[in-house]
Symmetry: C2
Subunit: 221 residues, 2 copies
């Protein structure tokens, strides 16, 4: 069943946030929520909550609201969390290792099945129970194992080559932690974590706040 009219990316980006808040509610033992309660918690309008869900169907009950656990599962299914996904991490530097050890992803159905690097000091060692293999083993590994997602945590100069490689091996999802913009065919999905960009954005707002403070001090004189 094909997606009819394309759902805006910005709506998709909000689904994990809904999922997160619904998980919280569920853990707090709350079994029922209205669009306006949920919106208030998340800092958006009730209209937006209902409008977002409307893209996928109708999950609520008029006059009642939403069943927390049911809605959570619906959104989980939309996101595909009901299916197990496998990831390989390419680049076992500080960040790559931290991600490999980050156990939280596993709970959501994402498991790291391989870690690769070029550094001979790392190749052969283990992260948790996974051997770090040399990058030149990636092709073989992907032939022998189903891999859904490649996590790219290599230095920026290698990012493009690594992306091209994993795409050629049939991987359709790339989680890109480098600052490089990856140009990929339309049948490949890329999600970027641009740490530096995020930090610079924060820096801008901090600067603005400092400037505002200085102004206020001047006015007080």
């Amino acid at each position: 069943m094909a997606q009819q009219k394309k759902i805006p990316d910005i709506v998709i980006k909000r689904l994990p946030i809904y999922y997160r808040f619904l998980t919280n509610l569920h853990q707090m033992g709350i079994s029922r929520v209205s669009s306006s309660d949920l919106g208030k918690k998340m800092g958006i309008t009730s209209s937006q909550v209902r409008q977002d869900f409307f893209n996928f169907g109708s999950f609520g009950l008029q006059g009642y609201g939403y069943d927390v656990e049911q809605l959570r599962q619906e959104i989980g299914n939309i996101l595909g969390l009901n299916k197990q996904r496998t990831m390989i991490i390419i680049g076992a530097g500080h960040l790559g290792q931290a991600l490999a050890r980050h156990s939280a992803f596993e709970k959501e159905g994402y498991s790291v099945v391989g870690v690769f690097d070029v550094n001979p000091h790392l190749v052969g060692t283990k992260i948790r129970d996974i051997d770090i293999q040399h990058v030149n083993k990636i092709s073989q590994f992907c032939r022998e194992n189903k891999v859904d997602i490649a996590v790219i945590t290599v230095p920026r100069t290698y990012a493009k080559d690594v992306a091209d490689l994993v795409i050629s091996l049939g991987i359709r999802g790339i989680w890109n932690f480098t600052s490089v913009k990856l140009n990929v065919p339309e049948d490949v999905a890329v999600e970027n974590i641009h740490l530096s960009d995020s930090l610079m954005t924060l820096g801008y707002y901090v600067k603005c706040l400092h400037e505002r403070e200085e102004e206020q001090e001047e006015q007080e004189e």
Copy 2:
């Protein structure tokens, strides 16, 4: 000089991207660029490029375009990259340590000046040349040192308390790596890196691509 009409957040989020592409151009020895060239590289329209810059003034030359290095510096100044910023990292787990060791931030003027944790096995050890101190030393540290940004990489249950603490100590910028939504006063800036959200979003698109592939296979039969 106060910011006149507020510049949209979405424009601010693009500034680091411009900065990044301009740095690349500069490193490639390219000294001149037009809005349409820059837009093409970044995957946006030339109109948007000009419209974005128009928020801050006029940096170009009609009939010529922009001087790469000059534009880069202008954007750097807007972002406040000309000023040195200090950060403390709270939570020296895998992610916190990886960020502390991530040297790239330093180049952009952000330096880690303190790392804190509660784990007695970590307290007293070093990351690079920085001592890991116990979290109960944060107040004292902030009184004795100017700290611009707090990086929060603690488990989610402690996130709120840590945020409240650093805000009470006068820190105005929070880089939040936990999955918790931090409710902060309006004179505090928060930037979130929600790794799980990003991964789930990627998972959604991977799911869609898989479904599309299956459909195509069916049609071929």
